[in-house]
């Protein structure tokens, strides 16, 4: 039963108006622009903040009530999972590596989102937008906590989960999600909402929280699917906030349209690049599969995102720049990314592997135009090498894209045999990019991106060793020194899944036959 607030007979819409608009006031002894310094400097013109409507009309009292109910359900599942040793019921210990990526690369983003929304929630002059942003800020903090609680159970049994926040700040591939959010947080408030609420949450997060979480259920991980769906139910509100924000800006003033379009172009591309990790989790890290990345992309981006951009056309908004390239990428990015992580499996705190034959077959069926032609032969070659005791571990450092920070692993549009590489010269320095999209983002704001903290460059400059380490000492191994600075347990957190402690422990706990000794798999690491 709802707590009686205001008058019992107010309808939902009136009640929402009373519970939000009444919270704002104009300042008297300080000018408004001094108290709210941020919501004008991006050039977005707002004439009437009262036109902002949060379509869900969730007031704080209802918010606490329903969030409380969700929280009770979630913790009941997490507790049951822990009491019942649910980790032993998952399909395969390889699956846990997807959770490692989740706690390393996604959970910290929830915390960044919490900070971002707390900031914009303070700084919009409109009360409707402020209330919506504040609720979202609390949601994001809840997601950070519930994900950490749910995954801490796995941390008791599996490697690669013991210090995700330090890894988020230090480990090379985690600079990809980190830089995405730091870019968004250091934009203005309207750009932040366009980046996170609209481009990321509305257009792209369904890809992570729906098919991947459904995959978690399919793989017996009820704890993860429950926190995933519990988080995603908040995302439904966040998505409405994103679309409301876009509509509001577009309806307030025609001068806002080109600014918003530019942000949509930028953040669609940045979000698409970030989701490479999810593409790989879905196609390669779920031992029992629900749908391919390509199918998810078609359902949630081409179909649903297509509907959205047809709708926004009435304001003069077109689909984001790079849309066609991103749609072409649905056939490639998961394979290219997994191949890269497989090669760099000595330097990452999770395990990689060559898919089993039936898994390769599934990929051939799901990607009939590309997998057998471009990717299967590569994996078969690597599998043969591994069998022969030559597991490949790449020890050279790759060139990184200065914008998305992903190694230059993606191929040219129209030619999946050629690595895509773009260059821009700025103030006498050369900058490298993985795509036209990332190059455009840089060229539009070069002063921002010349400050990027690029892991490879930082390693070469000697900034990624513990204090007191002497790189000139005899026998110095720079890779080991960097992994030590990361806080990785070399030999436990990294290398191939075959022969790993996770693999052996899981088989022992379940009473499965012991895995074939994979010393061959590990030899490559020592060479």
């Amino acid at each position: 039963m709802d707590a009686p607030v205001i008058k019992k007979k107010l309808g939902l819409k009136d009640r929402y108006a009373a519970m939000t608009r009444g919270l704002a006031w104009d300042t008297t002894y300080q000018p408004m622009e001094k108290v709210f310094p941020f919501d004008q400097y991006e050039g977005i013109k707002i004439h009437d903040w009262d036109k902002w409507e949060d379509p869900f009309r969730l007031t704080m009292d209802a918010y606490w009530k329903y969030q409380g109910e969700k929280e009770k359900k979630l913790y009941a599942v997490i507790e049951a999972f822990a009491q019942n040793n649910g980790q032993l019921g998952i399909s395969d210990a390889r699956y846990v590596n997807a959770l490692k990526l989740f706690i390393q690369g996604v959970t910290p983003l929830e915390y960044y989102a919490h900070r971002g929304f707390a900031h914009v929630g303070r700084h919009f002059t409109g009360a409707g937008a402020r209330v919506a942003a504040q609720m979202q800020s609390i949601d994001e903090l809840r997601h950070y906590q519930t994900e950490t609680h749910a995954l801490s159970h796995y941390n008791k049994y599996f490697n690669g989960m013991h210090q995700p926040t330090q890894w988020f700040d230090r480990v090379w591939y985690l600079s990809v999600p980190k830089s995405f959010f730091e870019d968004a947080l250091s934009g203005g408030p309207f750009e932040f909402l366009t980046a996170v609420s609209f481009s990321f949450e509305y257009v792209l997060t369904n890809l992570l929280f729906v098919p991947f979480m459904s995959g978690a259920a399919h793989n017996g991980d009820m704890s993860t699917v429950t926190f995933g769906f519990s988080a995603q139910s908040d995302e439904s509100r966040h998505m409405t906030l994103g679309i409301e924000c876009i509509k509001f800006m577009l309806e307030q003033d025609p001068a806002n349209v080109p600014i918003v379009q530019k942000w949509i172009d930028k953040w669609f591309w940045r979000g698409y690049r970030l989701l490479t990790l999810v593409a790989m989790m879905q196609d390669y890290m779920l031992p029992k599969r629900v749908m391919s990345w390509k199918e998810s992309w078609e359902m949630y981006v081409e179909e649903n995102g297509g509907a959205l951009f047809r709708d926004l056309a009435r304001y003069g908004i077109r689909e984001p720049k790079g849309w066609k390239e991103a749609c072409e990428g649905k056939d490639h990015i998961s394979h290219q990314a997994w191949n890269t992580f497989y090669s760099y499996g000595a330097a990452a705190p999770f395990h990689t592997w060559i898919p089993k034959e039936d898994e390769l077959q599934w990929l051939s069926e799901k990607y009939p135009d590309t997998f057998d032609k471009y990717y299967r032969p590569r994996f078969e070659h690597l599998r043969e090498e591994q069998k022969a005791g030559r597991r490949i571990y790449n020890k050279t450092l790759p060139m990184l894209c200065n914008t998305c920070q992903i190694p230059l692993l993606f191929t040219e549009p129209g030619d999946p045999t050629k690595i895509c590489h773009r260059e821009t010269e700025y103030k006498g320095e050369k900058y490298h990019f993985c795509s036209d999209g990332c190059q455009h983002v840089f060229e539009d704001e070069p002063e921002k991106y010349v400050q990027s903290w690029l892991p490879v460059q930082q390693i070469y400059q000697g900034h990624c060793f513990k204090p007191g380490v002497d790189p000139t000492a005899e026998g110095f191994d720079p890779l080991l020194a960097v992994l030590d600075w990361y806080g990785m347990n070399v030999g436990r957190d990294n290398f191939d899944f075959e022969g790993s402690e996770d693999q052996k422990n899981f088989a022992t706990w379940r009473g499965d036959p012991a895995p074939v000794s994979a010393t061959a798999a590990q030899q490559g690491a020592q060479s």
């Binding site: 379509p55 329903y66 729906v210 098919p211 459904s214 978690a216 399919h218 439904s236």
Partner: protein, 97 residues
């Protein structure tokens, strides 16, 4: 609206956790929206409908014989698409083009 935009009917969707609390809601949606169809990927029920989808409080109450506040949808909601219009009696999703 010009001819080229009329031709494409965009779908809206809504998805819930596949559990007992969602069942009367799903049944109500399928009863009230002739063109809606449900799919059941693991853990989920996802309902797609061309153009528009409406959820009526009254139909859910008829299914269960109990009072239902439409905002209870939040508890088992997973995701949705389209513009939302919500009051005490109806929750609808639609595109405007």
């Amino acid at each position: 609206m010009n001819a080229s935009t009329v031709s494409a009917v965009s779908s809206v969707f809504i998805a819930f956790q596949d559990n007992e609390e969602s069942r009367p809601v799903v049944d109500a949606i399928l009863a009230d929206n002739a063109q809606a169809s449900a799919t059941y990927p693991p853990g989920l029920v996802k309902i797609n409908a061309p153009g528009r989808l409406v959820i009526r409080r009254e139909t859910i109450e008829e299914q269960t014989g109990q009072r239902f506040n439409l905002q209870q949808l939040h508890v088992n909601l997973v995701t949705l698409s389209g513009y939302i219009d919500e009051d005490d009696d109806e929750f609808s999703l639609s595109w405007q083009h």
